[in-house]
């Protein structure tokens, strides 16, 4: 099962195709749990929290994987590391699909 999920992520990375990357609706639901508190509705970006909407899927997945691994990138890393650590591969794919689809 884990291999299948990784395969889906790999296809997503290769083809940058939102339809293959993850479930947009599930990504929206996960985003609403706590991401939107800082990044705003549909990833519009708020205050000093960056805009995420429309970003490329490989970029979003890479960032979330990096934070999940505990690696710092930028001044809000401590906050993002904590937020990303509970995410599963599927949740990351779903979030990336949702944010990529926001224009």
């Amino acid at each position: 099962m884990k291999g299948l999920k990784l395969g889906i992520v790999a296809i997503c990375l290769l083809f940058s195709n939102a339809a293959l990357c993850g479930d947009i609706d599930a990504g929206e639901a996960r985003y609403a749990q706590n991401c939107g508190n800082c990044h705003g509705p549909a990833g519009m970006g708020l205050a000093s929290y960056p805009k995420l909407k429309g970003k490329e899927i490989p970029y979003l997945i890479d960032r979330l994987n990096t934070y999940r691994a505990g690696t710092k990138i930028g001044p809000n890393s401590d906050l993002m590391i904590m937020m990303a650590q509970p995410l599963s591969d599927v949740e990351i794919a779903n979030l990336a699909a949702y944010l990529n689809a926001q224009k």
Binding site: N34, N37, C38, G40, P41, M44, L46, A47, S48, G74, P75, N76, D78, L79, I81, M82
Partner: protein, 434 residues
């Protein structure tokens, strides 16, 4: 003996009273609340100021100052570096992280002198400073300008305060980017003087410093000079009304007695509402190697003892108190948000009979931030502060129906509460007493 007619009257009154007895809720005179968007499509709106006639000036953190007139037209007045479409553009004004164009206030004599005051980040006065995070960096200013009668332009800019501290570089802290903790809310007090809030800019020595403007509430005249009645400790900058704050972004004056109250962000614990005392100390001291603490990342202990992981807010407060009782001139907070830090960043006292039971209480805008399992809590609170300012009698959530990052609150001339939210809108919140 009671005459029959009087007896009948008494029975009739008693019966009528019974039939017409209002419900308990009615006698509370709690107002009905409704909210409607009056501006949208904005970019990080930060603060508003109103003329008596209902013209609304608005700052956007990375764009500039605009006005929406009472007739509904919008004019872009003073833009920051890189902005387009403004009548004037000032290339020294910039935004970075939390910093940018922020507070705005109108002169009490605006109808005659057309003066407006705006707080912003500027690189004009960096001088030989600002080379590192560990030195003086004059990067926040207060400008005075004049608005044309047609509300379409500004002129005669004078920088009345040039040396409010600014954080120029990233540091090893949460939210550690440049531009952290600027304060920058502006309000005129009932005394006719301008009150300006400042922040600690992530530098440990700033809040308790006698000379660096940061972590203070300033009380100044419209030329930027100290109010003659300010009483900071001997050797301190006379512009300081209070010092020892973290990042004050909410300030207003209680209608019943004119006393200044602040609403302030906590680190990961203890947002605070505080009754100010002339010359008082907010008690924030994030220096390393004081108060039982050792070294801290980049000489700032504000998020210690554990910057990276959640822990009980009360445990954090033990290590790094917002209001340290070591200080004999401490102004103890009236409220600490139940020990939580949720982004308490603006305040406005509610005036007018339309607010019913809440008239005279303080509305507090809370942006919402959670960390390590604490609730984010986006909301507006209505706080009933005790007369002596040392405690609160109650706090309730205003039923606006909105879940937004409430950045700026301001009461309008119509006694409606206006709320700027980070999502790019300004809401008008109206109250109707029962």
């Amino acid at each position: 003996m009671i005459k029959k007619s009087k007896l009948l009257s008494a029975v009739a009154i008693a019966t009528a009273s019974f039939i017409a007895a209002p419900s308990y809720a009615d006698t509370m005179n709690t107002p009905d609340i409704s909210a409607m968007s009056v501006m949208n499509g904005l970019e990080n709106p930060w603060d508003m100021a109103f003329t008596n006639g209902g013209d609304m000036f608005v700052t956007e953190k990375c764009k500039g100052l605009s006005v929406k007139t009472s007739s509904g037209s919008v004019h872009a007045l003073a833009g920051m570096k890189g902005s387009k479409g403004y009548a004037s553009t000032f290339n020294d004004l910039f935004c970075s992280g939390q910093a940018g164009m922020m507070g705005v206030a109108l002169d009490p004599n605006f109808n005659k002198n057309r003066r407006i005051y705006v707080a912003s980040t500027s690189d004009k006065y960096h001088g030989s400073g600002c080379k590192t995070n560990f030195e003086k960096c004059d990067g926040n200013i207060i400008m005075r300008m004049e608005v044309s009668k047609d509300m379409k332009s500004v002129s005669n800019r004078v920088d009345i305060v040039k040396d409010i501290q600014y954080k120029p570089f990233e540091s090893d802290h949460p939210f550690g980017g440049p531009g952290a903790h600027n304060g920058n809310r502006l309000r005129f007090g009932p005394d006719g003087y301008l009150w300006a809030t400042t922040g600690d800019r992530h530098r440990g020595v700033v809040p308790q410093s006698p000379k660096l403007l940061g972590g203070n509430v300033l009380r100044i005249d419209t030329d930027g000079k100290a109010h003659p009645g300010n009483k900071p400790p001997r050797g301190f900058d006379k512009r300081m009304y209070t010092y020892g704050h973290r990042n004050v972004q909410g300030i207003d004056f209680r209608p019943s007695d004119g006393r200044a109250f602040t609403a302030e962000h906590g680190p990961w614990q203890n947002d605070e509402i505080t009754a100010l005392v002339n010359g008082g100390n907010g008690g924030w001291d994030p220096r390393p190697n004081v108060g039982g603490r050792g070294d801290c990342p980049d000489k700032y202990c504000g998020y210690m003892p554990n910057q990276k992981e959640g822990m009980l807010p009360a445990k954090r407060a033990q290590f790094m108190p917002m209001s340290d009782t070591r200080f004999s001139d401490l102004m103890p907070p009236a409220w600490n948000n139940n020990g939580l830090s949720q982004g308490t960043g603006s305040a406005a006292f509610l005036k007018g009979k339309n607010w019913g039971y809440w008239e005279g209480r303080m509305a507090v805008g809370i942006m919402g931030i959670g960390f390590g399992g604490t609730p984010s809590g986006m909301r507006i609170d209505v706080v009933d502060i005790a007369k002596d300012g040392k405690s609160i009698k109650s706090v309730i959530h205003m039923p606006t129906g909105l879940t937004k990052r409430f950045r700026g609150l301001r009461l309008g001339p119509d006694n409606a509460l206006y709320a700027a939210v980070d999502e790019g809108e300004i809401y008008k919140i109206t109250a109707t007493a029962q």
